[in-house]
Amino acid sequence: MSEALPMAGAAAQVNAVGLSKNDYRGNPTTLCQGCGHNSIANQIIAACYEANVVPEKIVKFSGIGCSSKSPTYFLNRSFGFNSLHGRMPSLATGALFADYRLKGLGVSGDGDTASIGMGQFKHIMRRNVNMVYIVENNGVYGLTKGQFSATADKGLELKKQGTNLYLPVDICMEALASRATFVARLFAGNAKQVKEVLKAALSHKGIAVLDIISPCVTFNNQESSYYSYSFGKEREDPLHDISFHAASEGPQSTISYVPPKPEIVLEADMVDGEIREVALHDGSRIVLKALDKDYDPTNRLEAMRVLEDAHENNYLVTGLIYVAPESPSLTDLYNLVETPLNRLTEKDLRPAPETIQKINALMF
């Protein structure tokens, strides 16, 4: 039932698993033109293609909202489940028990995650479910036409709502507090960074939270908003340049490392810094090139500090905020058989007939 959209003309290029970029596409978007979510969907397609992901090994999940519609815009060859508002984490947790070899790819929004879904969000962190959890964060409800979400700026004014009286929830901070093992904050306008971090997140074992500031061009793109394009362009301060290197690339790639060129030039003259590597469990590596100063993403306390610093000084800190590459993921803790549970048959699942006498004898 895939709906690949073949490009006319030239033979498509294929990646290491023999698939063309079209094999990673989805249906056309139904979101607003210019919506940050669309560029994220495009980067998911690019990241999966470049990282040689087999689409059948990915399971897409979402809740309810504009962001949660987007899983139909990419990876048509992956199973997907558009679930309930704020309840995607529990669904994904159960589904990924069926085949521990599958990787979850969840897309949620700030309302879906930080308002109605905060409880489940915190618990999926704690359980370290093996999935990428993207929050397309725009500080506003889009599908219901412009209400405050839990990440909305204090003082934000919306036409039918008046002024937001409450301080915003910081999704990265919440993720860290709940012991997430991979936390990144990204800006949808910085596509290259989104793509590289997505690739790394797909290789991470356990939960990878990507809090992507993704402007809502219809309801929350005024210049003063933290969630606007203009704020991101002016006030984004990346912690590092990030590149992801699959295990197959070998160590060679580090030496020939060229800092990726951000589409948006953020600083006139970047300071060349130290190169730092984080090895993931599958042999891949995240290479982080420091910008103005070195940043250690394996230090939780430091992660919280940079988030707080960004708040206090009103800038958009982006990059890999935190990673703990060696934590066991949820299914690692359950001593499961090697065959995926959903491939087991009656002979594996029903105790032998002679056991029933033993069970009856155990009663009184």
Partner: protein, 598 residues
């Protein structure tokens, strides 16, 4: 002394909650059971860990009637807070045993009064460490009752060995107090009441178990692969029994698990995980009670509409709201029948015995996977948490039904041409694929929004109507897979009775009394599933009056039956009982009599 009354009376023990009396009470129950006497035990306990009054009532009945009785011939008063009430509750001619450290007035002269020096006997036993004194104190009344009623001390020891899993030390410690109580009673009490037990052979071949254990074991034989749950009385022990028995029954020789059990953060997540697991091809279940069912409603609706198999056990307790958390009820029937907003039909199983809790434990998965829908099993606190005599559990009599699932080779054969919600076979049941399937055409997108037979989003009126009509067709198809009602007919029956679940023993007994004392014979249909099948409609059609017995205020099943049988609605008369306790046979008998005399 009046004539001896043998094997036909009730014993009620009043203790402070959390005082460790459950070991003593279960020991009494099991000892009587091992003596071959039909017996039932019901724990009437408060929502509390320590201190509030709790009662345990045991019925011994030579004829095998095991419903609760409201009459207490033998009362054991261990709780000063309920002492006066307990004393007043003893039936005339009955016996009142009380802990003699309770210094309250006793003015009744129509019953036998027996003081028990509980504290003194415990203190005078040098083997009992000070910290265990309160726990073993209850064994004193076990010993005294054994002596005064004739309970076999060896059977008491058997029960204690079972309880303590043959650990010598606690068995010896508790037995020492049982014996001390029995010896003291032999030396100091003169029996003035007429109540005795004598060995019979009426429990041979039976087991004793609670419904939650039975349900968990049934689920294990049904191949449960995933369970998620959240603690709630009276359902917790179902999931805890999974934890107890799964490692024993469902590990490979290499010690690997073919299952996973997750304690969720709440019932929203518990069912969410099950919907995920069921969707992805696991035999998934959750277990809860009314308040949890309320929370699960949201996901239940999605599972119905997106056609996801899962099993939900509702161990009913008295609602609405927090209600009576530790008291039994059948008050969720109407709610579950259409659980969720919009048009929903639920598949419901109604086990009517402990053995059926086991049977429906495995059958529920076959139904859920065959019909790709949530299957609700409605048990209740009385079944779930009390020990019942039961026929032994029976191994499943048929292979597992995994339903319509397409794997790689099936898609290869179909050349990838399939649609998740296409009604290929005309029975309303579509085919599904499972995540992990590597065929490039295997994937589809599941949603709670309107969708086409190919699982694409649609708001088209025709598409919506067709989808909802197919779900209705599937519900009709379901009837052929459901357990049939159990119907007993007798020649000369004046009316019919419909009941389900834990009221069965009380209904059986009420029928016997109605016939014996009033010459009123009745036919009886024990309902085992919803939707109602043809045999139910026929039963109603064949009787001018049908009494519908259930534990709730409004006669929920009677209402559901009336809606489905409007032409016979006036025949259906509600006999609804709703005070938190299991109904007695006498109550059912008089409620029906009252109607019959109209």
């Amino acid at each position: 002394m009046t004539q001896r009354i043998v094997n036909d009376f009730s014993i009620t023990v009043g203790t402070p909650n959390g005082s460790g009396s459950s070991t003593a009470n279960n020991t009494l129950l099991r000892a009587l059971f091992k003596m071959g006497i039909p017996v039932s035990g019901k724990n009437l306990f408060p929502s509390n860990i320590q201190g509030l009054p709790t009662w345990y009532t045991i019925r011994v009945n030579k004829d095998g009637f095991i419903a609760r009785r409201a009459t207490h011939e033998i009362m054991v008063a261990m709780n000063p807070n309920s002492f006066t009430r307990d004393l007043a509750d003893v039936a005339p001619g009955g016996a009142f045993f009380y802990a003699d450290d309770i210094k309250l007035p006793i003015q009744r002269t129509d019953i036998s009064i027996y003081p028990m020096p509980v504290k003194q006997l415990v203190r005078s036993n040098p083997e009992i460490p000070a910290n265990l004194r309160d726990l073993v104190a209850n064994m004193v009344y076990v010993g005294i009752l054994a002596q005064m009623l004739g309970i076999d001390i060896e059977k008491i020891e058997l029960a204690l060995k079972f309880h303590f899993k043959n650990k010598e030390k606690p068995v010896a410690l508790n037995m020492s107090m049982v014996k001390a109580g029995a010896e003291w009673a032999a030396a100091h009490l003169t029996k003035t009441d007429p109540f005795y037990v004598e060995p019979m052979n009426k429990t041979e071949g039976l087991i004793m178990a609670d419904g939650n254990t039975a349900a968990a074991l049934g689920a294990i034989y049904g191949g449960v692969q995933f369970a998620s749950w959240y603690p709630i009385t009276p359902a917790s022990s179902l999931a805890e029994s999974l934890n107890e028995y799964l490692p024993m029954l469902r590990r490979t020789p290499e010690g690997k698990n073919t299952f996973a059990v997750v304690q969720a953060e709440d019932e929203l997540a518990a069912i969410g995980m099950c919907v995920g697991a069921g969707w992805a091809g696991l035999r998934a279940m959750t277990s809860t009670s009314g308040p949890g069912m309320s929370l699960m409603t949201e996901y239940a609706g999605l599972a119905y509409f997106a056609e996801v198999p899962l099993v939900i056990w509702d161990i009913q307790r008295m609602g609405p709201s927090t209600g009576l958390p530790t008291r039994t009820s059948q008050g969720d029937v109407a709610f579950v029948a259409n659980m969720g907003h919009g048009d929903i039909d639920s598949l419901i199983l109604l086990p009517g015995s402990i053995k059926e809790c086991f049977e429906f434990g495995w059958r529920a998965f076959d139904l859920a996977e065959r019909l790709q829908t949530p299957v609700y099993v409605l048990s209740d606190l009385d079944f779930g948490m009390n020990q019942w005599m039961s026929e032994p559990f029976e191994y499943p009599d048929r292979p597992m039904d995994r339903g319509k699932v397409l794997w790689e080779e099936d898609l290869e054969r179909l050349k990838g041409d399939w649609g998740r919600y296409r009604d290929v076979d005309g029975d309303g049941i579509p085919y599904r694929t499972l995540p992990g399937n590597t065929h490039p055409a295997s994937a589809y997108f599941t949603r709670g929004t309107g969708h086409t037979p190919e699982a694409r989003y649609s708001e088209e009126p025709d598409v919506w109507v067709a989808k909802m009509a197919r779900l209705k067709k599937k519900y009709e198809t379901a009837k052929q897979y459901l357990p049939r009602a159990v119907i007993q007919t007798v020649a000369g029956a004046k009316f019919g009775i419909i009941a389900f679940g834990s009221t069965h023993p009380a209904v059986e007994e009420a029928r016997a009394w109605l016939e014996r004392e009033h010459g009123l014979k009745s036919d009886y249909l024990r309902l085992r599933a919803i939707p109602f099948t043809e045999d139910v409609s026929q039963f109603i059609a064949e009787h001018e009056r049908v009494y519908v017995v259930e534990i709730n205020r409004d006669g929920q099943l009677q209402q559901l039956l009336s809606i489905k049988h409007p032409e016979h609605a006036t025949r259906l008369i509600s006999i609804a009982y709703s005070d938190g306790l299991p109904p007695t046979a006498k109550w059912i008998e008089s409620a029906i009599l009252e109607q019959e005399e109209k």
